[in-house]
Structure formats: C-alpha cells, structure tokens
Amino acid sequence: MNEAALIVGMFLATFSVRYMLFAVAGRVHFPAWLSTALGFVPPAVLTAIIVPAVLMPQGELWLSPTNPWLLAALVAVLVALVRRDLLTTIVGGMAAFMLLRFGFGL
C-alpha cells in the first residue's frame, strides 16, 4: 500500500467534509430531513464498529458469558447509562476488561 496516497486520500475525505459547510457558510440551507439523518450518523457508525469488535473479537462470533469483551462492554454500557460521563465509562469499562482478562484469566 502506498502510504502517502493513503494519507492524502484520507486527508481529503476528512477535510472536505469538515470544511464544506464552513466554506459556503450562510449561503446554503440544509433540508430538515437531512439534518435529522445526519443526527443518526455518529451513533450508527460507532455502533457498527463496536458490535463486531465486542462480539467477534477474534474474528468469529463469540456469544458467551466467558467473552470478556462482551462482558466488559455491558459493564461500560451500564456505567454510561447511569453516569453519562465519558471518562467514567472509559475507566469503568477498561477496569472491568482488565479484571476479567487478567484477574479471572478469561
């Protein structure tokens, strides 16, 4: 893989999206449905990344109470629902994961 081309390509894909609206600021209006659709983008994309990472950590579906990725993710979801604080969620989820993995040897 040509790394320079990859980085330039990713830069264009990132910067164009970030700059597009700033460039034409005030001259273009979003239809309401598009704004609504964009509101679903972050949670949908992030979830599509999280779920396979947690349920298929080694490439195969692993739906089991001994899957430390799954258990720690559930702990993180609970912490996030209760505290709604990013840092607490990260620390709580990582602590659960480390405990399961290295404390209980899962």
Partner: protein, 257 residues
C-alpha cells in the same frame, strides 16, 4: 507583548487559554486512544512514519483506527478512503451547527477551524457558545481547544509508536478494547428516544450480519441501514404527532442534550 497588551490581545489570549483548559478532561480520554493508535500502527501494516504523518495530516481519531483495522484486513485504498468519508459524515452535523459562528470569519480561519473540528473540540466549543453571550473572540477559544487536542494527539501517537517498539506484544494485551469502550461512552448519551435506539440496534445487528462482506464494506452497509431506519421512524413519529409539535430537529437536539 507583555503587561502593556492591547485589551483585545489580552481577550484573545484569555479565550485561547480557556479553550485549551476546557478541553483537558476530553484530552484525558483521548490519551490512551492516541497511544493505542501509535502502538497498533506497525502490526497493522502502517509504518512508524506513516502513523505520525497520519496523525499530523488527517487528524481524525476514529477514522485512523478504522483505517488500521482495514489495512490489517487487507482492504484496498479506495475502500479505506470511502469508509473514512462515511465515518466523518458526523462532522457535517457539527459543522452545520457551527456555521452561524464562523460566518463573520475570513476563509483562512474557517479552514483552520475545519481542520481542527473533532468530537472533543465540538463538545468544548458548544459549551462555550452556550455559556457566554459575547462570541466575537470565541474563535480563539476554538483555536486553543483544537491545538490542545492536536498537540496531544500527535504526541500520543509518537509515544505509542515508541512503546510499540519497546513492547511488541502490547497488541495482545487487549488494549483495542479502549476504542470500543470510548465509543460506547460516546453512543449511550444519544439513546434518548425510540428512533435512536432503533438506529443503533439495526446498525449493530447489520454489522454482525455483514461482517463477512469483502473490504469491510459491511461497516458502511450497517451504518447506512441504521441511519435509514432511525430516520424513517423519526419521520413516522413526526407524521403521527398532531400539528407539527414534534420538530424536525428534535432527535438531533435531544441527542445533543
């Protein structure tokens, strides 16, 4: 430039420092992330120099992680770039939100701010705009937040690259879970209504169902399915509501809540 500063310069400096300070808690969350990116780069097939250049030039945490995953899975360059584009679409929403705040600024400022637009800086800056009325110098606050994030991201990448060379088995420690857990912490606050729950459940289920698609295209299919279902439910709900009591932006506003 010392105690005899023009009040405007002092105001700018104040905004800049306040912006950097307001971003510190978010930076703490980004530190393991940056280190992990640096650590995972070489095992995924990206050189140390490539990892540093990517953090310096692309500066998009989630996309960079996904690029590593795709590289490791042997995806082709156009697939990685297209996925980056989809993952970054959330920035359109942030930018749309900030448009009224950049209208008075010259294009070079807008470019700088666009380059520095991240989940974290958007969060810090939104608070700043909500809390104080006078926003004439708030772009300096933005700059402070952006440079704090940027400096941290690049430093942590370098640190991670170094650590990865010192401890080659670090990748087997399961640190990749830091990314999942960070994303969980970012997703959960959105879950405040049925369309949002539906979008997330569909995206997650579709991600598993499409996991075997080549080039990790399943990620895009899953995300777009979730968005489509969420949007449809939102529009249905809106139609069901009597006289337009449910505003079009409700879901978005609630999510940001």
């Amino acid at each position: 430039m010392s105690s005899s500063d023009h009040p405007q310069v002092a105001g700018r400096r104040h905004e800049f420092v306040a912006g950097a300070k307001a971003t510190i808690p978010l930076i703490v969350g980004a530190i393991p992330f940056g280190i992990l990116f640096g650590t995972l780069a070489e095992p995924s097939g990206l050189s140390a120099l490539g990892a540093l250049a990517m953090s310096l030039i692309v500066f998009a945490g989630a996309s960079q992680f996904i690029a590593l995953g795709l590289l490791a899975a042997g995806a082709a360059l156009p697939v990685i770039v297209a996925t980056t584009l989809v993952v970054n679409l959330r920035h359109l929403l942030y930018a749309a939100n900030l448009v009224p705040k950049v209208r008075h600024l010259p294009q070079r400022w807008r470019m700088l701010m666009a380059f520095g637009l991240t989940d974290e800086t958007f969060a810090a800056v939104s608070n700043r705009y909500l809390q104080q009325q006078d926003t004439s110098q708030a772009h300096w606050f933005y700059l402070g937040s952006f440079l704090a994030m940027y400096g941290n991201w690049v430093l942590c990448t370098a640190l991670g690259v170094g650590l990865g060379e010192l401890f080659p088995d670090m990748t087997s420690w399961g640190l990749d879970f830091a990314m999942s857990v960070t994303f969980i912490g970012m997703v959960v606050p959105y879950l405040r209504n049925t369309p949002m729950w539906a979008a997330v459940i569909v995206a997650g289920a579709m991600a598993i169902a499409t996991a075997t698609m080549p080039h990790k295209l399943g990620l895009m299919v899953a995300a777009l399915s979730g968005i489509a279902v969420g949007l449809s439910l939102h529009l249905l709900k809106q139609r069901g509501a009597d006289n337009g009591e449910v505003e079009a932006v409700e879901t978005v506003e609630e999510a940001r809540g």
